[in-house]
């Protein structure tokens, strides 16, 4: 496995969150080069690099930047999504605590490219202690004059998973309930109080300085043709050394787990892996043996790469209770706006609970799939479809366990 450190290069450095240490290790070097390029040239570089959004969706970042108006009467904004709430995902937290200046540098480049003067970092409420680290870095950057022309404001969420959805995040940032908005009919930027706004994940923005420094080709040198670059993959659950380790797209999942994770905890056998955060579905050990970590490989299995936060489960794990656990999460976190999601998440949670309590019948399993079908593709945001996909992935791979539990 090829070692690579694009976002994580300063993670091992002690006190890397302080400006002096960060600068000693090359932070903000790209800013000198920045003004030699026109904003549109930067967007072009990002497009060439093939950088994809690392918040879970994997949409091309450059295309999104290009939607931002270069000439606008209204001010443009950049919003950094640090509402990292997907179970199994804890990578952005590494960036804001171990290399916050990388993020700030990325923000400055992004703001220059999309002609924004103000960036907000929306941090989930549970990350208060990590927010303090980032705030410290922002304060230092203000003192050093790095920030000032461009402002960075940290905005704290308060415990709502759905605010990771970009339009719900903007609603929340506007001071409202985090309800996802109806989607526009044609490609357009997001809107913050009616102002054109770019929303990107922390890691996406933190990858930008590398691309600026070394060029698009250097970034494309890693990863696969369609999934270029790297991701802060993470693993948790039944592995010896859980944690966040950067790797390029396309590495073998098992190589990654064995190499960085030190293999299965207590030498147990692998049973199943949730590949990239709770909403990405589940795969069997056999599937995990052959899969590569990139968007396309997982898509072809009916799953998704998500944020690359793998949850590893050993042979003793009961898949019914795992699904129950996840459905409890969705039941709790549904924003309650659309009927299929509001009512559906509760119903499937209760149905699986019934099966887990050994009160279920085979009809209940069919009913689960039927409700999952109703929840798919009929709501404002992708929360309900994700729940639907999770149910289908569990039942298609571990149906025997559910039947055994009846």
């Amino acid at each position: 496995m090829r070692e690579v450190a694009i976002v994580s290069r300063k993670f091992a450095v002690e006190n890397s969150h302080t400006l002096s240490v960060a600068q000693a290790h090359g932070a903000y070097k790209t800013l000198e080069k920045l003004h030699t390029l026109a904003p549109l040239e930067i967007i072009e570089i990002i497009k060439e690099s093939g950088l994809r959004g690392k918040g879970g969706g994997g949409a091309p970042a450059g295309a999104k930047w290009a939607l931002m108006p270069q000439e606008s009467e209204r001010p443009s904004f950049v919003v950094i999504n640090c509402d990292e709430s997907e179970p199994g995902t804890f990578k952005d937290r590494q960036i804001i605590t171990k290399d916050p200046h990388l993020l700030i540098e990325g923000i400055l480049i992004t703001c220059y490219a999309v002609k924004a003067k103000h960036a907000y970092v929306y941090i989930r409420g549970e990350y208060a202690q990590y927010q303090d680290v980032l705030q410290g870095a922002v304060d230092e950057a203000y003192v050093a004059g790095i920030l000032g022309e461009v402002d960075v404001t940290l905005h704290r969420g308060a415990g709502a998973y759905i605010c990771g959805e970009k339009s719900a995040l903007l609603e929340s940032l506007e001071g409202k309930r985090g309800h996802p908005r109806l989607k526009p009919k044609q490609p357009e930027p997001e809107w913050y109080f009616g102002n054109p706004t770019l929303v990107n994940n922390v890691e996406t923005i933190a990858s930008v300085p590398f691309i600026m420094e070394h060029g698009a080709a250097a970034y494309r040198a890693y990863g696969t043709e369609k999934s270029p670059g790297t991701l802060l993959f993470a693993m948790s659950g039944h592995v010896e050394k859980p944690g966040v380790y950067e790797a390029e797209f396309g590495v073998s999942m098992m190589d990654y787990i064995n190499h960085y994770g030190g293999g299965m905890k207590n030498g147990k056998k692998l049973k199943a892996v949730i590949p990239g955060g709770a909403s990405t579905g589940v795969m069997t050990a056999a599937e995990a043996d052959n899969v590569q970590l990139d968007y396309e490989s997982l898509r072809s299995m009916g799953l998704s790469l998500g944020t690359g936060g793998m949850i590893v489960m050993d042979e003793d794990t009961c898949m019914v209770s795992v699904l129950k656990n996840l459905l409890e999460f969705y039941h709790e976190e549904s924003c309650g706006q659309c009927t299929p999601c509001r009512e559906g998440t509760g119903w499937v949670d209760k149905l699986v609970g019934k099966i887990l309590d050994k009160r279920g019948s085979s009809e209940d399993i069919d009913k689960l799939l039927e409700v999952a079908e109703t929840m798919n593709g009929k709501t404002i945001c992708v929360f309900a479809p994700a729940v639907s996909a999770v149910i289908v992935s569990f039942l298609s791979r571990f149906r025997d366990e559910f039947e055994a539990a009846l």
């Binding site: 039941h331 309650g336 009927t339 593709g377 404002i380």
Partner: protein, 457 residues
């Protein structure tokens, strides 16, 4: 105005304004589409997900309330696939619903019931017993009762208080399936249009405290009429019913859509004004406080008229129908009386607002102005023949055609209220509107026209 284009719905071609909402077209053309959250006056919210249609070229079904009409669009609203979508989503609406239609006052005019008849009609698939529990009896204030369990969270009521009255009393609180409609703790729904949320609510979550349990809606008959609360001329339905062995009674006023006047709403005061039509009504003819029969009454009328010949004034209430006013004016001419229609007493600036309430509190204000009647108070009157005008006049003698009882020694003659008669009204901006006769009392009081016939006969 945008260009008119053609679109195809269920293989038929329709014309619509480009960029208008598809659901508006479906509603206008009476193409069956289920929905809870959409309302023409509140716009799309897209939360109920019921109004799904198939659109050619789109992979997934789309909600009609968030689909803009485009030229050449092909829409399918009734394929087997889309009917299944409607059925499935409706079923989700029902899983936490208490299904207590027997005690629910909305039964009979409930969207959930109607849609279940259209799309459901299956046995319950729900086997879970622990439905989400909320409060079933919350007095929101302003005559509105809330049952949080019956709510489908369409947010029409909250959008009404946000967008229409801007009073923001209601909101959806909590989230997921624990979300519910509520006011802030200890605060009440308090605005002059509050009861409109009862009409807006598609289900039995919001019911009118004034109406609930008084009558089942399927017994009611509706007549199209105009509110007599002020000169705005808000269109209403008079919902009334004559139960066996009882009299015909009005149970409620409901707003009737008229985009040119009141849109979808009426004020609460107007809505509750039906009560005046049912209480304290003058039922018998009185002279000097004593009941007289019709023969005596008419004899008395005629003798008073002869006695004050040449010194008779006729006073007209600005709530009478135009046809009645015209007849009275003609009658006054025949008996050589002066005609007055004093308007001063109807002016109540404290009632007015910038929505639907007008300071001129007389329904046929426009007709009085249009006919150019004398609006001063009558002076030097020997005899005043008062056609239900609310003012008390000082005169030597008075004949009073009145709908309601009053303290008077004058000749009091009961007359039909507007709900017991038909006629037209002209509102403050000159719009003429027609009121249907609603109520047929067991022993009806004569209308103005039949009184005139009687006294001239």
């Amino acid at each position: 105005m945008s260009e008119m284009i053609e679109i195809i719905v269920d293989d038929k071609t329709y014309r619509a304004e480009e960029g208008s909402l598809l659901i508006d077209l479906l509603i206008r053309e009476e193409i069956k589409v289920p929905y809870f959250c959409y309302h023409e006056s509140l716009g799309a919210d897209g939360n109920c997900r019921m109004c799904m249609v198939e659109i050619a070229g789109q992979k997934r079904p789309q909600i009609a309330c968030d689909t803009l009409v485009k030229s050449g669009m092909e829409v399918n609203s009734k394929s087997t696939k889309i009917e299944k979508v409607h059925t499935d989503i409706l079923e989700l609406e029902l899983i936490n619903h208490p299904v207590d239609c027997p005690t629910c006052d909305q039964a009979g005019e409930c969207s959930l019931q109607d849609l279940y008849m259209d799309y459901g009609l299956h046995d319950a698939k729900v086997t879970i017993v622990d439905k989400v529990k909320h409060d079933k009896k919350v007095d929101l204030g302003s005559n509105v009762m809330l049952d949080q369990e019956r709510c489908v969270l369409c947010a029409r009521c909250t959008r009404f208080t946000d967008k229409i009255t801007h009073t923001h009393e209601l909101g959806i609180i909590g989230r997921g399936d624990e979300a519910k409609v509520s006011t802030m703790p200890g605060r009440k729904l308090d605005n002059p249009y509050a009861m409109n949320v009862v009409d807006l609510c598609p289900v039995g979550a919001l019911t009118s405290k004034d109406f609930r349990f008084h009558q089942r809606v399927w017994f009611l008959q509706s007549a199209e009429s105009i509110c007599h609360g002020c000169a705005k001329g808000c269109n209403i339905y008079i919902d009334h019913n004559k139960m066996k062995y009882q009299d015909d009674v009005i149970y409620r006023f409901r707003p009737r859509r008229n985009d040119a006047v009141n849109g979808f709403y009426i004020c609460d005061e107007g809505r509750l004004s039906y009560k005046e039509l049912e209480t304290n009504r003058l039922e018998s003819m009185l002279y000097d406080g004593v009941v007289v029969d019709e023969h005596e009454a008419i004899a008395q009328y005629k003798s008073l008229l002869t006695q004050y010949q040449g010194r008779v004034s006729v006073v007209i209430d600005a709530n009478l129908y135009s046809e009645e006013i015209e007849a009275i004016v003609a009658y006054a001419e025949r008996i050589g009386a002066k005609v007055f229609a004093p308007l001063e007493c109807y002016n109540d600036p404290s009632f007015a607002d910038d929505m639907l309430k007008s300071a001129q509190r007389a329904a046929n204000y426009g007709a009085i102005v249009k006919m150019g009647l004398e609006t001063n108070m009558p002076s030097d009157a020997g005899l005043i023949i008062n056609f239900n005008h609310p003012t008390h006049f000082n005169a030597e003698a008075e004949i009073h055609f009145s709908t309601h009882k009053q303290e008077s020694n004058a000749l009091l003659l009961p007359m039909a209220a507007f709900s017991e008669n038909s006629g037209s009204l002209i509102n403050e901006v000159g719009l003429e509107q027609w009121c249907e006769k609603a109520v047929e009392k067991n022993s009806p009081a004569p209308t103005v026209l039949s009184w005139l016939e009687k006294v001239e006969g």
